[in-house]
């Protein structure tokens, strides 16, 4: 359980970090919380030539609402979201979701953008980014690039980030008070990667759903949206029959993975339950 040899850099600025990345010629890896990377290296499944430790880059250590967005810097740990630190539905949503991420020691070390860069299909933060159409801010020697969520997630453990890019920030839309959210996941044990999960955000105007966002994670090779179900809900009140139908549409629209923990047909039916329960929770708020 010792990692293969690697070079170690601890840059003090984003510029130094992206310079090191460029020098590593594609063989460098960013170390933030290390909660996925380090075990993978110890299993010798990941073998970066160079680790670029960004923990000393103070300009990445921020999380604040600004101009209608929540800006989350690359050193923001999961645990930062456990208690809402700003007003509004988004803070409540993040505080709700974060409880499902692994265990307390992992949450105190792992980072929000680290999860996005790692892109595990069952990552809760990836689901949040997908559902809320986050923007990912990447830096390289060429400068800054903003990648919308719809283009960011490619497949399991693969994103649109190039090998020379450092994910410096994620931006989530601040939701106004007309938004309600619901989250539901199922796993065999608390803290495990979910076999299926759903995050729902609904904008309610005059007792009817004006905008619906339904995200599904842990089911395909990346988090996905349920466009048919989202469209179906517009103008509905969200009563029981609406929720059942939306959940059905969502579960019909997915191509679930099949593995030793959950066969595909089970995952599909489970997803229907997760979406329906997430909707129930959103509408009960």
């Amino acid at each position: 359980m010792k990692a293969p040899q690697f070079a170690y850099r601890a840059p003090r600025s984003i510029k130094e970090a992206v310079t090191a990345l460029a020098e590593s010629e594609g063989m460098g890896k960013i170390l933030a919380g290390g909660q996925s990377l380090v075990p993978t290296m110890n299993f010798r499944l990941a073998r970066p030539d160079m680790l670029i430790d960004i923990n000393r880059i103070s300009e990445l250590d921020f999380a604040r609402p600004e101009n209608g967005k929540l800006r989350i810097g690359a050193l923001t740990r999961h645990a930062a979201f456990e208690r809402p630190f700003f007003e509004g539905p988004l803070a409540r949503l993040l505080a709700d979701v974060v409880q499902h991420i692994a265990h307390v020691p992992i949450r105190t070390r792992g980072t929000f953008t680290g999860s996005l860069a790692h892109a595990d299909p069952a990552s809760e933060w990836c689901l949040v980014a997908c559902t809320l159409d986050a923007e990912m801010v990447a830096h390289s020697l060429e400068g800054e690039r903003i990648i919308p969520a719809a283009e960011y997630f490619v497949t399991t453990l693969t994103t649109a980030l190039t090998e020379n890019e450092l994910l410096v920030e994620a931006r989530l839309p601040l939701l106004d008070d007309s938004w309600k959210h619901g989250f539901c996941e199922f796993n065999r044990r608390a803290g495990d990667f979910a076999l299926s999960m759903s995050l729902v955000a609904l904008k309610i105007e005059n007792g009817r759903i004006a905008e619906a966002r339904i995200g599904i994670g842990g089911v395909e090779d990346k988090p996905v949206r349920a466009p048919d179900a989202e469209a179906y809900l517009i103008g509905k009140t969200g009563e029981a029959a609406d929720r059942v139908e939306a959940a059905r549409l969502a579960s019909e629209g997915i191509q679930p993975m099949d593995d030793m923990h959950a066969p595909a047909d089970y995952r599909r039916d489970l997803t229907r339950a997760m979406v329906r329960r997430a909707l129930e929770r959103a509408l009960a708020r």
């Binding site: 359980m1 010792k2 040899q5 044990r189 608390a190 076999l195 030793m260 923990h261 089970y266």
Partner: protein, 766 residues
């Protein structure tokens, strides 16, 4: 002072909870080298040339060995239940011509650092030509060696006229049942640190556990050392569960390297290795038939079963299969019985014992059968058990079977009594009614039960060496091991009460072969029965000698004296003239006129011998709720009722039962070593080998009874180690059946959400 029967807090905990434990990985010696094992990536193949050139060129590499370097070291032999049939299936310390499971050691690297050893191990390349794999014990037998099949032996046990039972049967019930492959996963992985002490000419192995004396004898013999040329040392041990502390290839390799390299050698297993290399267990497939009469009384059982032994037969030899054959009948009369246990080699990690070996499996099988019998004749699960339990007036009950070299005779027990008390404790009738009402409202709720007889206190003997020093400190040297179960505390309690010493002045030593010549170790729930009884005897001898000497010192007749907390005085006269145990030892110095021909001091070596095991018994009852959408299973209630004969420390007994139940839940709902069709293991980390944690554990209630003390030992005790685990699979299977309203649905463990999903789908289709 009375110590026996009190929940004394664990004496051994202070270093453990203050971070000062000394586990295997905490032990290092100057100038040590680190060992890393290169393991087979294939499940079955002919082992060709191994290219070491790149690895040998790596920085820090001291030596690399392959099979041909250790060809002079014999196979690792059997500790228990030796069968000559099994000998060709023993494992060598490194693979010679074939590899037979993924994880089998094929080479070993020694280097100056752990990282260098791992770097070099990674570039050892072996040519392996694939051979066909056998993945399940019920698959057609394959070839182990030319001329030898993968069916190593068949263990057969029987009594009564089984053919007659089936002739007379009103109904015959046939079930096919399977318990999945899982095992004990101690928090501390294995480890061994060996060094040769030139000054004493002794090879030391640190990191020992469970059975240090047997391992000392075995390893010294394998290495050609005289017995006196080797000693084993046990430090803190982070869990045993049957799998830790047996002699494995890595222990022998570490010791051999210390001799050959003339440097200390350290090997610490990593978690991935542990899941591939340490003994797996369970993995038993039963085809059971029962002849029953029209009232649900079982006339006879005929069971044909298959133990998946994995790639080799290790130290436990036929133990699991033998115990399964002998313990299957459980607490029921069953007038006729026949069992055949096929020991089948497969291309998976070798298997051995794990907490309640052979019983977790057969309790699942037997109790599934009892549930099926009840369903067949239309009676409640409790009633069908009542109709088959052995009545009180038949105890002691000779089972008509033997195991581990002893006849199975249930020494004491009130099987009806314990079940009634358990049912009363949970309020069974109300519980049943409430579950039915919830089911009527659409919930999937069900109750299951499991009854079993356990075994404990395997002989033939244990020895203790007890001595008191001039300050009144008592040292109790035992031949057992402490794998975390509270040996120091419970043994000190027995000694303190029997001798009359203060428990604070007692030190209990275990796992040090240089301090005591004999020791059987810690397994089979034997420590309290065997070593506890030896301490009871030895401490009684010292008490008598102390009183004799004190009678002379105080000029008071012996019969009028008592000892309490190390102080001897006239009964009922405190304060008054008194002497301490330390005073007595000083008065009994060599040359003392008080000796009267006896040895000086207060010391004794005492033994306890036993020809028969003692049989505790228990009853589990559990209630589950299934979420019909997620197919998740929630255990809402769980009770372990257990008759232990006599409880030395109720808190420790309760801890054993609850911890055991947790492992039972693991095997029933979560844990499984899954393999693909090529024999590749799919559960090689805690991501995929799913163990229950505190968040999945229900509240486990315990009911510990002392209604049936054992007549076989002076304390009346029976073992506590395995009763919490034994019936969990059986109990939860019954509860899930009832929750789904599908009698007999659960035929295989573990039961995960996917199983429930498929059953519910089947039910909807029907």
């Amino acid at each position: 002072m009375n110590y026996i029967g009190r929940s004394v807090k664990r004496l051994e905990d202070l270093p453990l909870i203050t971070g000062r434990g000394r586990f295997a990985a905490d032990i290092s010696f100057p100038n040590q080298v680190y060992m890393r094992v290169v393991r087979s990536p294939f499940a079955h193949g002919k082992l060709g040339p191994i290219d070491l050139s790149e690895a040998l060129a790596q920085e820090g590499v001291v030596a690399i060995w392959t099979g041909k370097d250790v060809v002079d070291i014999p196979h690792i032999g059997f500790r228990l239940t030796k069968l000559a049939d099994l000998e060709p299936y023993r494992q060598t310390i490194l693979a010679q011509d074939r590899v037979r499971y993924v994880g089998e050691p094929i080479a070993v690297v020694f280097a100056e650092s752990q990282a260098q050893a791992e770097d070099a191990a990674e570039v050892v390349f072996a040519e392996i030509d694939d051979l066909p794999v056998v993945i399940r014990a019920i698959d057609p037998v394959g070839e182990f060696l030319p001329g030898r099949t993968t069916e190593a032996s068949v263990v057969r046990k029987a009594y009564g006229d089984i053919d007659d039972a089936f002739r007379r049967a009103a109904h015959v019930i046939e079930l096919e049942l399977y318990v999945g492959r899982h095992s004990g996963i101690p928090m501390e992985t294995r480890g061994a640190i060996a060094r040769f002490d030139e000054s004493r000419q002794v090879l030391e192995m640190h990191g020992a556990a469970k059975v240090p004396h047997w391992n000392r004898a075995t390893i010294s013999k394998l290495l050609g050392l005289p017995l006196e040329g080797m000693h084993l040392y046990e430090g803190h041990v982070g869990g045993g569960f049957g799998i830790r502390g047996e002699v494995y290839p890595e222990d022998v390799l570490t010791c051999l390297a210390a001799l050959r390299l003339k440097r200390p050698v350290k090997w610490i297993e990593d978690r991935k290795e542990h899941l591939l290399a340490a003994n797996h267990s369970r993995d038993q497939h039963h085809r059971i038939r029962a002849a029953i009469d029209e009232n649900g009384f079982i006339l006879g059982i005929d069971d044909d079963f298959f133990t998946d032994q994995g790639g080799y037969v290790r130290t436990h030899a036929a133990t699991v299969t033998d115990l399964a054959c002998a313990m299957l009948p459980g607490p029921y009369v069953i007038p006729a019985y026949r069992a055949a246990g096929h020991i089948r080699l497969t291309n998976k990690t070798p298997a051995g014992t794990y907490r309640a070996p052979g019983r977790y499996e057969t309790t699942f099988v037997r109790e599934r059968l009892l549930d099926a019998v009840g369903h067949k004749v239309g009676i409640d699960p409790i009633e069908v058990r009542r109709r088959n339990l052995i009545p009180l007036d038949k105890i002691p009950f000779a089972r008509g079977l033997d195991t581990l070299g002893t006849e199975v005779t249930y020494d004491s027990g009130d099987y009806f009594g314990l079940m009634d008390q358990a049912l009363q404790r949970v309020g069974y009738e109300d519980m049943k009614k409430a579950a039915a009402e919830r089911r009527a409202k659409g919930e999937l709720v069900g109750i299951g039960v499991g009854y079993f007889v356990e075994k404990s206190g395997l002989g033939p003997m244990d020895e203790v060496d007890i001595s008191v020093d001039e300050d009144g400190h008592v040292r109790v040297i035992t031949g057992v091991a402490s794998i975390g179960q509270g040996v120091e505390t419970s043994m000190a309690q027995i000694c303190a009460e029997r001798l009359g010493a203060s428990i604070d002045k007692i030190t209990v030593i275990h796992g040090q072969t240089d301090l005591i010549g004999h020791g059987m170790g810690a397994f089979a729930s034997r420590v309290t029965v065997m070593t506890g009884s030896a301490i009871y005897i030895g401490a009684g001898q010292l008490r008598e000698r102390a009183l004799q000497a004190a009678a002379s010192l105080l000029q008071v007749p012996e019969a009028e004296l008592e000892i309490d907390e190390g102080v001897i005085s006239r009964k009922g006269q405190v304060p008054g003239p008194s002497v301490t145990l330390g005073d007595v030892v000083r008065a009994l110095r060599p040359g003392s006129t008080l000796l009267n021909g006896n040895d000086p001091g207060l010391k004794t070596v005492a033994q306890f011998t036993a020809d028969h095991m003692t049989y505790p018994y228990g009853f589990h009852i559990g209630q589950v709720r299934i979420d019909p959408e997620t197919c998740g299973i929630e255990i809402e209630k769980y009770l372990v009722a257990y008759d232990i004969g006599k409880s030395i420390n109720p808190m420790l007994v309760e801890g054993q039962l609850v911890g055991g139940a947790c492992q039972g839940i693991g095997g029933a709902l979560y844990e499984q070593f899954v393999y693909d069709e090529q024999g590749q293991p799919l559960a090689t980390s805690f991501m995929d080998y799913v163990m229950p944690t505190i968040t999945e554990m229900p509240w486990v209630d315990t009911l510990v009874r002392e209604d049936a003390p054992s007549p076989l030992n002076p304390l009346g005790v029976k073992g506590a180690g395995e009763g919490g685990t034994n019936a969990v699979g059986a109990t939860l299977a019954g509860a899930i059946d009832e929750a789904l309203q599908m009698p007999g649905a659960i035929t295989s463990l573990p039961v995960g959400p996917a199983t429930i999903y498929n059953l519910l789908k089947k039910k909807r289709a029907a």
